[in-house]
Amino acid sequence: MKKVHPAVVGAQPFQLAEHRPVERLFEDAEGRDRLEKSLSRYPEKKGALLPMLAYAQERNGWLSPEAMEEIAEALDLTPAYVRSVATFYTMYAKRPVGRYWIQVCTCISCHVNRGEEVFESFLEHTGTRAGEVSEDGRYTVIEAECLGACGFATVVQVNDRYFENVTPETVPEVLAQLEPGEPEA
């Protein structure tokens, strides 16, 4: 059995329970602390938008409309503006994702290295369609914008870990590494 990289294990809070209610972000000491720290780093409140979106995703696993509204209020922005920023980036999940969030890069370098085929292969092996959570709640596969590892195309990011030089043929190997034990039928 292969050793599993700790970053791949479904250990983030959102990955522990599938349909957990969305937590309010800035109502406890932790959230307020994160907000204040971020705000102190930027000349304008608006600057803290990306870190706060990342925090919301870290906390809830995805960016709910409620979280966007909460962030908008905290940063004196309109919810619509927060949404425009959040939807611009593929790294923010705008809907709940599975335990393994598989982001396949299909930008130029990965595209010429069969990135799209890798993406299709992931969909096939997980039995899902793009962006949807697999029936067992384990996988969500999306196409990602450039992951910045063009030297090792095709790059696939699973949760917080990169898998490099992935080809359509090695997709089952990647999936096998995600969780020890027998793959589910």
């Binding site: 409309p65 966007m68 922005l77 309109t78 919810p79 619509a80 503006y81 949404r83 425009s84 611009f88």
Partner: protein, 526 residues
């Protein structure tokens, strides 16, 4: 050290030499020479210029790359070519990209005929697409209760987004997603509810944003259009009235730097929907043996001139009447000896357009209260109860909120109006007059700006402008000659109040002209 404000620079555009103030953009400089540089994202009323559509690229001698003319400042001695091969090729490429996923559904698109994508695509002359793949389909969405968004037609110029953000001051509209999946949207569950949202439909250069009130109503080339003035409130926004088969189908703002810039509010747009209300009075009616009877104009006016009582009475005018009609009404009242006279004025909430201080939906929901004041009418909360035997003359006011027995036992009741309410049915004589849409005339707005409006519709039946009817009646009463044209009606009115003295009809330009209102109490002050 102050730079002379009017420093002029000279440059050549397509071989035409133009002189413009320093700081003018190349695009604006070209406009002064009558050269239109194609553009999408640039809109003269929206302050931000992202130069993102790449449509206005022009060649400037000595510069290695094409330059976006909407942000490029014109320089002294510049030689600009808008029609060079490189510039034309760039535009052709932009159009080709814009049309990649565009459905080209012009036959069912409201914007067809008034579409900048259509115009420029035709101009570049590339009529076939080299794109072989399946088109991306994004669908459509409702972004306000009266505005639809057709994402496939959208070219993402972001005029609407920037109008909401930079002019309306309400960043509720955004570009969502990125790249080929990008579209315009609001926050989920939060449709646009800004009072000025309708303008996003007007700024849309294509048919992506359409107003439901106009959806599938008319083709652009089937409409007659007339310049008008919005009667919704006392701001006097300039509008363009689009009519088809004698029905108003579309209202668009018309540029006036002194009043409304390129914009208008949604109250004004909605208000005009009722312009098509039917059940009009289309024939003169006189009361014979207790019954109203339809007669022709000559008979009605002769009948009226013979029975017109002298002495004081109750007079009511509508602040929706034109200045000329109000003036004529005052002259009639003076002739028969009624002093005073009132008008009723509805009020509502105000709404200010953040980006243009002069445009405000004003509390006074009528276009011409200032003229009523100018001619000595005063605002009344409600009409006085009519004593038995009294004389009552009403011009324009619909009386539709009054009890059915209003003025039932008046001595003489004359009604000039467009719709027959229960209360108006008690009149002894009913004369059909036009609404402002069916006549030419003027309104005076809250700041005393006199503005002309033109006739947009054909009046129903034999309805005539109130000034024409009243002046004819006056001439039958031996007071002055007939007036058959708006110009003459205005000039007659101008002799009857010091406020309009010296203003020639021909001097009322497209921006209107300020009149002296010191004789009148400002309606908003009370």
């Amino acid at each position: 050290m102050s730079e002379p404000a009017s420093e002029t620079i000279r440059l050549t555009i397509d071989g035409v030499e133009v002189a413009v103030p320093k700081g003018t953009t190349v695009l604006k400089a070209a406009e002064t020479a009558g050269i239109v540089v194609p553009h999408y994202c640039y809109h003269p009323g929206i302050p931000t210029r992202p130069a993102q559509c790449r449509m206005c690229l022009v060649e400037i001698e000595g510069q290695p790359k094409l330059q976006p003319s909407c942000v490029m400042t014109a320089g002294d001695g510049m030689n600009v070519v808008t029609q060079s091969e490189a510039a034309r090729e760039a535009r052709r490429s932009v159009i080709e990209f814009l049309l990649l996923n565009h459905p080209v559904d012009c036959p069912i698109c409201d914007a067809a005929g008034q579409c900048m994508l259509q115009d420029y695509a035709y101009e570049t002359g590339q009529l076939e697409s080299r794109f072989q793949e399946a088109k991306l389909v994004l669908g459509r969405d409702r972004i306000a209760d009266d505005i639809l968004y057709f994402a496939d037609r959208c070219i993402l110029c972001t005029r609407c987004v920037r109008f909401m953000r930079d002019v309306a001051g309400d960043e509720a509209l955004i570009v969502a997603q990125r790249g080929h999946k990008a579209y315009i949207d609001t926050f989920p569950g939060k449709d646009l509810d800004n009072e000025f949202r309708g303008n996003i439909v007007d700024v849309c250069p294509v048919g992506a944003l359409v107003h439901e009130d106009f959806l599938f109503k008319a083709r652009a080339w089937d409409m007659d259009s007339a310049p008008g003035v919005c009667p919704g409130c006392s701001n006097g926004c300039n509008i363009e009235i689009g009519a088809k088969e004698n029905q108003v189908v579309r209202i668009k703002p018309r540029y006036n730097a002194e009043v409304n810039s390129y914009w208008m509010c949604d109250y004004g747009r909605k208000h005009l929907v009722m312009a098509n209300r039917g059940a009009r009075i289309d024939l003169p009616l006189i009361r014979r043996n207790g019954e109203l009877e339809a007669v022709h104009w000559g008979e009605a006016l002769t009948w009226l001139s013979e029975r017109m009582p002298e002495g004081d009475g109750v007079a009511v005018v509508s602040p929706f009447e034109s200045t000329e009609s109000i003036a004529a009404f005052r002259a009639l009242l003076a002739r028969i000896g009624i002093s005073g006279g009132g008008y009723r004025l509805a009020r509502g909430d105000e709404a200010q357009l953040a980006g243009f201080p002069k445009l405000k939906l004003r509390a006074e929901r009528a276009p011409n209260a200032t003229a009523a004041e100018l001619f000595g009418f005063r605002e009344v909360e409600s009409l006085p109860s009519i004593a038995a035997g009294a004389t009552v003359i009403v011009a324009g006011d619909r009386l539709d909120d009054l009890p059915a027995d209003f003025a039932g036992d008046a001595g003489f009741f004359a009604y000039l109006g467009s719709h027959l309410s229960e209360a108006a049915r008690n009149a002894d004589v009913i004369l059909p007059i036009t609404t402002f849409l069916e006549m030419e005339g003027t309104f005076i707005n809250h700041e005393g700006r006199l503005q002309r409006f033109r006739q947009a519709l054909v009046p129903p039946g034999v309805a005539r402008p109130a000034w024409m009817v009243i002046r004819r009646l006056l001439s039958l009463l031996g007071d002055g000659a007939d007036v058959l044209e708006a110009e003459a009606a205005f000039e007659r009115a101008a002799t009857e109040t010091p406020g309009l003295a010296g203003i020639a009809w021909s001097a009322i330009g497209p921006k209107g002209v300020l009149v002296r209102t010191d004789g009148a109490a400002a309606p908003s002050a009370r």
